[in-house]
Amino acid sequence: MSVYQSAPTPESSAIIAKDFDFWYGDFHALTGLDVNIARNKITAFIGPSGCGKSTFLRCMNRMNDLIEGTHVSGSMSLDGNNIYAPGVDPVDLRRRVGMIFQQPNPFPKSIYENVAFGPRLQGVTSKSDLDDIVEESLKRANLWKEVSNQLSKDGLALSGGQQQRLCIARVLAVQPDVLLMDEPCSAIDPTSVQKVEDLMAELAPEMTIIIVTHSMQQAARISDYTAFFLQEVAGEPATLIEYGQTDAIFTSPMDRRTEDYITGRFG
């Protein structure tokens, strides 16, 4: 059973997972997850490698559908609608639940085309609208000042940190309600990490953000809520150990295993 410390109520939650299980083929990867993700707050998923936190994150926009043989049980709802209900279009879901990956992955196109990609998918064709979206998105991602005079440059020519902010701008351009970030800072330099963290803080009041991170300092610094995942026995499914307000989790963890992990005794 998972331990909860002042976790968000269903009413204040954007995403609610109930008795959620996940399988890669025959491998049972996650089990018994009951999690409410607070709306317009930052939630951090922590835990040792292989604990399923990234897998769980990728369940939230059904990215795992792209892997053959995966299936789920239980329910996962976004604003009250089960995203795994029959007939739900994962493509449409992903427009509302954006994602940032560990490795910055701009398309091999110009900076402008990278940001305009999503709006174009949604049928925006007017040049002035696109210009507007590109500029505002880059501004919100705090990248505008650095690239405003080189929008036709290849996105891959930017530094790693800039690339990651370009990816964030790219997602912001489609105005998702939820932003999933899968270790967004582990492949970029420390100065850029600072910029990305500032950016998350600026976005949080209007966007539900979930971040998977290996850095406990980062989780403590930026998140409102923290969830700790653990796979106790190799080959067995991982599950949620403890979940609640970040302050509570880090200052007075109730579960022994959470405390061990936070204090660096394993993982």
Partner: protein, 299 residues
């Protein structure tokens, strides 16, 4: 080196022995010679074929050589209709083969499930292994009668060659396109899906543009294969060295004309065949040069 103040008997580091030095050096030159043989061969092919074709420049004359009429018995050695024939079958083969080859590659890399991929992928490899004579045979006994029916002729001609060559260049194009697609990082596909793109949108807005140069590579090499193909073409084009009146009437190509005439030609006729060989060699070397330029740009 400083001398160490140790009591142990000092053993100096051996210098490279002369025998080892000579042996390693000799082996190095031997390997180099083997590698350089490729260069020598290419030069030899060009030099020898050109040498045998020399009367084209001196006795036949380039004006005659690049004229329309091929009638060796009357002293007419014009290869233009043969060049046109080669061009015609190649273009048609590309028009049919490129969509098929690229489509197959995209399906295998981007769409197919593992199970389907494990069945179709070897099929593409086996298709590449089937010798051209079998393709020619198949084209002659199956496709030709079919073309004859729809065109009211014998079925020898460009149309039949298109079908045969299109199938033959599919494995080349598919294999190289698959390489190009596989070299695109998974991450940008995921990013596209995460933006709410459908599979098709991801393929044509992200994957295909990213693999563009690799696919051009594949097409150029497929083109080389089509131009250079001999036996399969020889068996289905009808071997009439003229500008054809329709795509279903007999034509001839550079390759098929060489294969056909070599058995009985002599004198200037034979020189002209070697001259055509030089033309083919230059075309294929140019295509390879283009591919190398593209590959350099890709990196």
């Amino acid at each position: 080196m400083e001398e160490t103040p140790s009591a142990a008997p000092k053993r100096e580091l051996a210098l490279v022995s002369h025998a080892t030095y000579v042996k390693e050096k000799a082996l190095r030159y031997l390997f180099f010679a083997c590698a350089f043989l490729a260069v020598v061969t290419v030069i030899l092919i060009f030099a020898f074929t050109t040498y045998s074709a020399f009367p084209v420049f001196t006795d036949i004359g380039l004006a005659n050589f690049f004229s329309l009429t091929w009638a060796p018995s009357e002293g007419e050695y014009g290869i233009v209709s043969l060049l046109a024939g080669s061009g015609l079958v190649t273009v048609g083969a590309l028009v049919m083969g490129v969509p098929l080859g690229v489509g197959t590659a995209v399906y295998l890399v981007e769409i197919a499930s593992d199970r389907v991929r494990k069945i179709i992928s070897p099929a593409v490899d086996l298709l590449a292994g089937i010798p051209s004579i079998i393709y020619g045979f198949f084209g002659m006994v199956i496709i030709r009668p079919f073309v004859a029916q729809i065109s009211d002729g014998l079925g020898f001609g460009a149309l039949t060659a298109w079908f045969v060559l299109a199938i033959m260049i599919v494995p080349t194009i598919t294999t190289l396109t698959m390489d190009a697609l596989n070299s695109i990082p998974m991450g940008i596909r995921e990013a596209s899906y995460a933006m709410g793109a459908t599979k098709w949108q991801t393929i044509y807005k992200v994957v295909l543009p990213a693999a563009k140069l690799g696919i051009v590579d594949a097409i150029v090499l497929g083109m080389g294969r089509a131009i250079g193909e001999t036996m399969a073409v020889l068996m289905v084009v009808g071997n009439a060295p003229v500008i054809p009146s329709s795509i279903a009437s007999p034509i001839s190509t550079l390759t098929s004309q060489i294969a056909l005439d070599m058995s009985y030609s002599s004198g200037l006729h034979r020189s002209a065949l070697f001259g055509m060989g030089v033309v083919l060699f230059i075309i294929s070397a140019t295509l390879v040069g283009i591919v190398r330029l593209i590959s350099k740009k890709r990196r």
